[in-house]
Symmetry: C2
Subunit: 207 residues, 2 copies
Amino acid sequence: MKNIAIIEDDIELRELLDKYLSHQNEFSCKISVDSIEDFFEVLSEENKPDIILSDIGLPGKQGDESLRAIKEKLPEAEIVMLTVHDDPEKIFKCLQGGASGYLLKNSPLEEIKKYLSILADGGSPMSPRIARKVIEYFRPKQKLEKPLTEREYDIVVGLVEGLSYKMIADKYNISIDTVRQHIRNVYRKLNVNSKAEVITKKLRGEI
Amino acid sequence: MKNIAIIEDDIELRELLDKYLSHQNEFSCKISVDSIEDFFEVLSEENKPDIILSDIGLPGKQGDESLRAIKEKLPEAEIVMLTVHDDPEKIFKCLQGGASGYLLKNSPLEEIKKYLSILADGGSPMSPRIARKVIEYFRPKQKLEKPLTEREYDIVVGLVEGLSYKMIADKYNISIDTVRQHIRNVYRKLNVNSKAEVITKKLRGEI
DNA sequence: AATACAATCGCATAAAAATGCTATGAAAAT
DNA sequence: ATTTTCATAGCATTTTTATGCGATTGTATT
């Protein structure tokens, strides 16, 4: 029996969720409020939620700020963001901020229920649409006009690992001047002029 | 009607999948091979797959290398990795490499079918367990014993953006020596000694 | 045969980064 | 009241990076 908290300022949606979830045997819903502030107000030892359903775009606070606040008070709780948007950027931020999942507000109630069951079970609810977005987020956005060669790719990996030119040269048994040459070429292809930019691009999946 | 290709060296599993999927109305299975090499061998205009189910740990090639190879020949195809492991690091690599999804080999056949249907529909199959792993991957792993101050955080962001010390100094209207000082402190707290490592840590959610 | 590109190496130089040491004022904590 | 932390700053030195120019070899393509 998992205790759910709902933080959502659309009263209609909130009451719908509250009513629906309270009706299920697996869930109870002891907190149902319309803002983060109210949530902390109402929160007590007796009604600590296991799972928190929270609107991402609540007025006042930014989504990821409130996330951090909740995580700090209730590190054990699973947080699921409710949203109408499915902007990958936002999804990413929320997941980084500590959300365990992400649900579109227009999802059917049965789906929401199913998701919460999975969550209680240690999985993370993620609808296929959203999963696709998340995957797209850290996938190479577009092919480079000038793709990197294998060697150049090796060198990029070395840079990401924090190796110096010298260390990369040793790792691949080539001269440091060769490393320089490859890096020159990488910079030209990526249109950058520093290690930092290469690393950032690589880790953001742009290479 | 989607055409599936199966690349999997466990003959039993491969034939099971082949038989099962061919039986479904929505799918055909024109290619069923046990290595990437064979796959390219057999591939022709007539049997181009829409979806490729591929073992991640095929002998010979690394998972992500073969991914790249497939993506190059068949950029339109959806690739789903088959695996027994659910190592988040590997999952991440594959998704970065162009996989659209990721299935555990011991998944029930009905589940696999359902996933493939979703994939054909533009979503990305991701089991809750794996979704959880992926989410965990880009979530702050643990709080730093020595957390960064606001200013230090600013400087880190500057580094990630590819700014030089000089540019960071200008951005925040401080001296370049102050930037140096902050960076020194950041290095100490993170236990590193280069920009590269800071950027990597930041983008991997370790800060 | 000619062209293109990948991988290799060298030398030189300017710019940037890493590090050692020191220091001051303000704010926060003890 | 004293200590700690944060943000600020300067100076000097070594190491690393960024970049310009030139060059050879092998492989693949045309």
